[in-house]
Symmetry: D2
Subunit: 91 residues, 4 copies
């Protein structure tokens, strides 16, 4: 999806923060830190990823799926993607 810098930058900031959390897990394992602490950090990474997912999904539906609405074939393909993404979430 084509984004301008204004909308891309906050997404990249969020991804970089998640990357930092993942490096934090590596450091905790290297330092033999308590397992419960490491597991809690992993839960925090899941939450951050879900927040990112939520934003990306909304962008996708409001732009990519809406843009495809004028062409039945393209809309069908976009809606198939939504079904696959949702089902993957349910798995």
């Amino acid at each position: 999806m084509k984004r301008d810098d204004k909308s891309r930058k906050p997404l990249l900031t969020r991804v970089n923060r998640i990357a930092g959390q993942v490096q934090g897990v590596a450091r905790m394992i290297e330092e033999d830190r308590d397992c419960a602490e490491v597991l809690n950090t992993i839960s925090a990474i899941h939450s951050a990823l879900r927040g990112l997912e939520s934003t990306l999904l909304e962008d996708h539906v409001r732009h990519c799926v809406c843009d495809a609405a004028k062409e039945p074939k393209r809309l069908e393909q976009r809606l198939d993607e939504i079904i696959t993404l949702y089902k993957r979430r349910l798995a």
Copy 2:
């Protein structure tokens, strides 16, 4: 969503099976059955519910959302619903 008997019946069969599983949990608690057994039955109910959810979501997208495609306002409303459902799944 308007369904004919042919597509409604299998859905109702699945819901009735889930209702039976829920009654099974009540019986297990009444009989002081082992907690791990009760917790496993609850996990099985979650899986059955997700299967039902997956079928209903696919029906909804292929029929309700597709039907709305010719009218931008209605399509926007249907896509808003998809975003809300997906986000609720992420929560």
Copy 3:
């Protein structure tokens, strides 16, 4: 797990409420109600089940697992169950 009436009754009340929600889904499908409404009710059932699961898990750990602590073999078996339950949650 052996329970007295006082601790069993609230659990059964919660299970019966969930059973009522499941019957509600059957009724909504019979009445061809909007899919998004049915999907939201299913999400509410998942939440109610998770609440029940949380209470049962806490009971199990505080009673069954604690009781087994004096006998290494029994404790090991109870901890294996916890691992299996947790992993099933992760699946």
Copy 4:
């Protein structure tokens, strides 16, 4: 939890792979890649994190919780942690 190199190394390899996947998401956003592709990569990261979580949880229960079994106070604290971790998973 105290680990030897032999058990620590494979964990760090898995964390580094996840870190690579997260960087992959950043690159995809920079390259305006299709949203469905980015969302699928995020799902793959969730799965890899859950696999890591599963291994860490098993280690924790088999070592930290078992070690605490001889001291009721310490066992109670470890079991409280398990309840908190499990409930966080349910949230």
